[in-house]
């Protein structure tokens, strides 16, 4: 972009003032970014006005693609990814002349590409904005975009997609397993029941030991700062890459204004940010609210075509298609990331290994004090993100990603096939898929504060979705267990099974054991004695008394890093919280059988906590 001339042109047109130009030039000196982007980011010029000025400079007419949509037949002859990558789109072919809208200075490269598809045609350029190009792509290639977002992964790697809940071989294995179990229970009821009891108890023990090792490894890495303040301070603005922020929102009209404020607080040059607000086509209320919030020009609304399944990963895949940043992160609408989080991610990627695909920031809650549920949730998240994930990282085990604040290398994310729209914990699935393909996931010492679920019904809906997603992830990644073991190694395979498989298994298996125990406590019946021969009795007693105690103790770790000391007594109430988990697990199992892709929407913005200014530390 001809810097001086663009500035002069805008000045001449009276669109910007001298002062605006000076400020933008000073900014440009520091960040090395294009003047146009800077002026837009500063709010000195509207995108459309700037491209009008550019059209004059380039000596071509301006075209408004909302008024003049490209010819769909013509567009479909090209690779749509080139449109996004090179910021152009063909509009119409009249005889030997093709009109092409471009948001970049006309280039021979584009001409050569057009001619490679259409033959020796004359290319006539018209200037437009990137926003217009994206709009035109969505309008003319709506079905294509929808298909890509929904079935992209399935077409490329059907075995890695949860679209098929059970493969034929899995189904056969499951039927054979179930029939064998029924037969064994019929012919050898007592030994079979004992064996099942042993298996469950052993699994519990293994889970306890696994979590114990991971949590203590995490605790020993408590002081380790993957990214230091000195490293952040050493970053120069001109070296910072373009960053795409995806914010999928659905029926969240009430928090759009808050979202804008939170994103504004990010410490990152705004002209290097591309914020894509992913709005569902039929969610008119949120779309209206987003418009009413009058976001800055750096925010782009991406309308996600309506279609089944209506899931967050599908929306994110649409966002991924339009993303132009070198790195990409997802935030939920209510998220309040630490201001320097993007910079920390950049440092982490730069100093990390080449196969580092993603870094996960910690998640925590700003409304911990609201009620019992939010306190428990805060404890759980603090334990998980402050100790378990760093522990997994330290032991080099696969890390299941959290719902938001996962930062990707955009090219690697595309290579991995994006998110699985049929998996309702697409984040956890993606972390494991990355590991299976030789990539690693790391953690950064930055936090995003979210809103903790404060309503039991809402909590169970959310948790049932997560547990169902874990079940889907296990089913997807165990389709070829030997191949998986070969790809990720036995250690990682065990880690994956313990973490992703063990979680739903634990919550499903616990209630029968609790009921048996409660029954015994009340009736002192010896009816279940046969299930507990010597060894199993000791094992189950260990799990009951020390295993559960140890889990409660480990959960107390949660209060230390963030100094939530006042939450310590609540760790003792974990058994109550586990009951809620089990209810959610059974709901998840039921939904896996009846509505595998159904996305249990969590309602956000229902907290009564109005002051989000500080986390709930002591």
């Amino acid at each position: 972009m001809p810097t001086r001339r663009l500035g002069e042109q805008l000045l001449a047109l009276g669109i910007i003032t001298e002062k605006d130009l000076e400020r933008a030039l000073a900014w440009q000196k520091r960040t090395g970014e294009r003047l146009g982007r800077i002026l837009i980011a500063l709010g000195a010029v509207r995108r459309r006005d700037m491209y009008h000025a550019l059209a004059t400079l380039w000596g071509i007419p301006f075209v408004d693609l909302t008024q003049r949509l490209p010819d769909p037949e013509l567009v479909q002859k090209f690779d749509p990814e080139r449109f996004v990558h090179d910021s152009f789109i063909p509009i119409e072919q009249k005889g030997n002349v093709v009109e092409v809208a471009t948001a970049e200075a006309p280039s021979d490269r584009v001409v050569e590409y057009i001619q490679s598809v259409l033959g020796p045609v004359e290319v006539r350029f018209l200037a437009t904005t990137e926003w217009d190009i994206d709009y035109a792509i969505r309008a003319t290639l709506r079905e294509w975009v929808l298909d890509l977002a929904t079935y992209g992964l399935y077409y490329r790697h059907p075995e890695e997609c949860a679209y098929t809940v059970l493969t034929r071989s899995q189904f056969i294995a499951l039927v054979i397993g179930a029939l064998s179990l029924v037969a064994l229970l019929y012919f050898y009821p007592r030994p079979t029941a004992i064996a099942i009891n042993l298996l469950i108890n052993f699994a519990f023990l293994a889970g306890i030991v696994f979590k114990f090792v991971i949590a203590l490894a995490g605790a020993s890495a408590e002081r380790l700062e993957p990214v230091t303040q000195e490293e952040i301070d050493a970053l120069k603005d001109e070296e910072l890459p373009h960053y795409t922020i995806l914010v999928p929102v659905y029926k969240e009209a009430n928090i759009i204004a808050k979202l804008m404020n939170n994103l504004r607080a990010l410490d990152y040059p705004p002209e290097k940010l591309e914020i894509l607000l992913l709005l569902e086509e039929n969610d008119t209320e949120t779309i209206e609210a987003a418009r009413a919030a009058r976001p800055p020009e750096t925010v782009t609304f991406v309308i996600v075509p309506d279609g089944k399944p209506k899931t967050k990963p599908k929306a994110c895949n649409v966002g991924l298609f339009f993303a132009r940043g070198e790195y990409l992160v997802i935030y939920d609408a209510e998220d309040r990331p630490d201001p320097d989080q993007l910079k920390k991610a950049v440092v982490a990627f730069r100093k990390g290994p080449e196969n580092l695909a993603c870094v996960q920031a910690a998640l925590n809650y700003f409304n911990a004090e609201e009620n019992f549920l939010t306190r428990m949730f805060t404890l759980e998240y603090s334990y998980w993100f402050d100790y378990m994930l760093p522990g997994l990282d330290k032991l080099r085990l696969p890390i299941p990603l959290g719902g938001t604040s996962n930062h990707f290398r955009t090219d690697v994310l595309r290579e991995l096939g994006g998110w699985d729209p049929f998996n309702v914990t697409e984040d956890a699935d993606l972390g494991i898929r990355a590991a299976a393909q030789g990539y690693t996931v790391g953690v950064i010492n930055s936090t995003t504060y979210e809103e903790a679920n404060n309503h039991l019904g809402n909590w169970i809906r959310q948790r049932s979705r997560w547990i169902k997603g874990y079940m889907q992830t296990v089913l997807v990644h165990t389709r070829h267990p030997i191949e998986l073991a070969r790809n990720v190694g036995l250690r990682n395979l065990i880690g994956f099974i313990m973490l992703i498989g063990g979680t739903p298994m634990t919550f499903l298996a616990a209630p029968p054991l609790w009921l048996m125990y409660a029954g015994w406590l009340v009736t002192r019946s010896h009816g279940f004695d046969f299930l507990f021969p010597q060894g199993i009795l000791y094992l189950s007693l260990f799990n009951l008394l020390l295993g559960n105690g140890l889990m409660v103790y480990l959960n107390m770790l949660a209060v230390f890093k963030r100094r939530y000391y006042h939450l310590l007594p609540f760790a003792l109430l974990n058994p109550v919280y586990w009951i809620f988990h089990s209810i959610a697990a059974y709901k998840a199992l039921w939904q896996l059988l009846t509505k595998p892709f159904y996305w249990e929407k969590t309602i956000h913005g229902i907290t009564r906590v109005t002051d989000e200014s500080s986390p709930p530390s002591t």
Binding site: E222, G442, Q534
Partner: protein, 488 residues
């Protein structure tokens, strides 16, 4: 993110700990060669043998602490518990060495301090002849080291390690609970020492830190009480064992206890033997009165416990004091302070030589180490045990609460019909129907029915076959004599 880090080399530490364990293992072997067997180890070995013989691990439902028993059950011989104890001693000494190294005590002084730590006969006895005691001190040292790091540096993992060590220690010694309380109480004092005025205001921090330390021993205590309740119907039954350390607390009328004055004198004698503790303690207290208060806490605590009927043995008390002060020494001692400490080491070494232990068993052990031949009593006990071991299965009616030494020395529980066997109660009433021999201790153990009936009269149909100090062996009239020796 995965930072590039090299795994720390652990093997040199393991080798060092093993090297430190070797002299202890040597002492254990020497004592064993002269047929010395401590009462505690005899108990452990006999319990392990009985559990293995009967195939019922539930036996541990009545046996507290469980871990010494389980470790012995791995290979129940009279030497096994001593070897375990030696191993624990190695780790304990290594921990002490590491801590002294961390606070930059010069190597020679460090070596002298470690040496003088094990030198007192009661301590060396505990580290080789008391599996429970050796492991307890080891966990105590590990926990104390972690605790100090937790308080000083606020390292969460150290606090959790400290708590977990204490939790495990409860399965070796009930005093883990006491230590947990002591640590938690010390948190309130020591936190003031290491943190600024602003941080001192964080009462919740201190409460949380204290709770983290006390929770694991409380958890293990509750868990074991629950098991005790399940198996015996009484949650604290495991603490009421007559051979346990706090029997007198629960049954003050059935056992002798110290008055507060006597207990204070005992503690004073323990301290008098440890000049290193006075000097190191004073050095710490000179730095801050808080250390003085912490030491006062433990001294008063042990004294009070003793006066309430808790048996806090001489060796355990001395070990506790030594570990507590040595590990808390200030970093980089000045030269005069180092000289003072060195003088204390010399004085303590002299006292070790001049002042024999007040515990008869420790003195017997010292004799066993230095004598050319085993003691007559041990020889006799060994010979009888070996011959009893050859008797047919379940042919000797006995009570393992007093016959445990014979079971342990004989390396088998097979010949005995014991209280845990289903027919025991009826066999006591009518031994003629069930057994060929009856082994009775002349000194009765509370609650033991065998001695009550047959300590001074033969069961119907039995004749006195042999007697030796404290014991009688009856033989059914039609049974062959079991022992070739006659009563001395």
């Amino acid at each position: 993110m995965n930072p590039p880090h090299l795994p720390p080399k652990r093997w040199p530490k393991v080798v060092f700990a093993l090297l430190l364990a070797l002299p202890m293992a040597g002492l254990a072997w020497l004592a064993s060669r002269n047929l010395f067997l401590s009462n505690l180890h005899a108990h452990l070995v006999s319990k392990a043998l009985i559990a293995i013989s009967r195939g019922h691990l539930e036996f541990i439902g009545f046996s507290y602490p469980p871990f010494p028993f389980l470790l012995t059950a791995v290979h129940p011989t009279t030497l096994t518990p001593s070897l375990w104890a030696a191993l624990a001693s190695g780790v304990l000494l290594w921990t002490l060495w590491e801590q002294l190294s961390d606070i930059e005590v010069p190597v020679i002084l460090r070596a002298a301090l470690v040496l003088v730590f094990v030198a007192p006969a009661p301590t060396a006895f505990l580290l080789t002849q008391s599996l429970n005691g050796a492991f307890s001190l080891m966990f105590y040292a590990l926990a104390w080291r972690s605790f100090l790091r937790f308080i000083k540096e606020r390292l969460t993992w150290a606090g959790f390690n400290g708590g977990l060590w204490l939790g495990i220690a409860f399965f070796f010694n009930v005093y883990a609970l006491f230590w947990g309380i002591l640590y938690a109480a010390s948190t309130f004092l020591l936190y003031r020492l290491y943190h600024t005025a602003k941080q001192r205001e964080e009462r919740q921090t201190v409460w949380a830190m204290g709770f983290i330390l006390i929770f694991p021993p409380l958890l293990t205590f509750s868990a074991w009480s629950y098991l005790s309740w399940i198996f015996t119907g009484s949650p604290l039954q495991f603490l009421k064992d007559p051979s346990g350390p706090i029997y007198a607390f629960f049954r003050p009328n059935a056992a002798s206890t110290y008055t507060l004055w006597q207990a204070a004198k005992l503690t004073a004698v323990d301290l008098f033997r440890l000049p290193v503790v006075w000097v190191a303690g004073i050095l710490c207290a000179l730095d801050s009165w808080i250390w003085g208060a912490v030491y006062a806490l433990i001294i008063v605590g042990i004294t009070l416990m003793r006066s309430w009927g808790f048996v806090y043995p001489e060796a355990l008390a001395q070990g506790t004091f030594m570990i507590m002060v040595l590990m808390a020494l200030p970093t980089r001692l000045t030269r005069p302070r180092r000289i003072l400490l060195a003088l204390a080491v010399v004085l303590q070494a002299i006292l070790v030589v001049l002042m024999p232990s007040r515990t008869p068993e420790v003195r017997a052990w010292q004799n066993a180490l230095t004598a050319d031949h085993p003691a007559v009593q041990d020889q006799l006990e060994e010979a009888i045990a070996q011959q009893l071991a050859k008797a047919p299965r379940h042919s000797i009616l006995a009570d393992d609460r007093n016959a445990y030494r014979f079971i342990a020395r004989g390396h088998t529980a097979e010949p005995y019909l014991l209280p845990m066997d289903a027919t025991y109660t009826t066999a006591v009433v009518n031994p003629q129907e069930y057994v060929s021999y009856v082994l009775v201790a002349e000194k009765q153990t509370p609650g033991e029915p065998l001695g009550t009936r047959y300590a001074y009269q033969a069961p119907p149909g039995f004749v006195l076959s042999a007697t030796w100090p404290g014991w009688r062996l009856y033989r059914r009239k039609d049974a062959p004599p079991l022992l070739s020796l006659s009563a001395p």
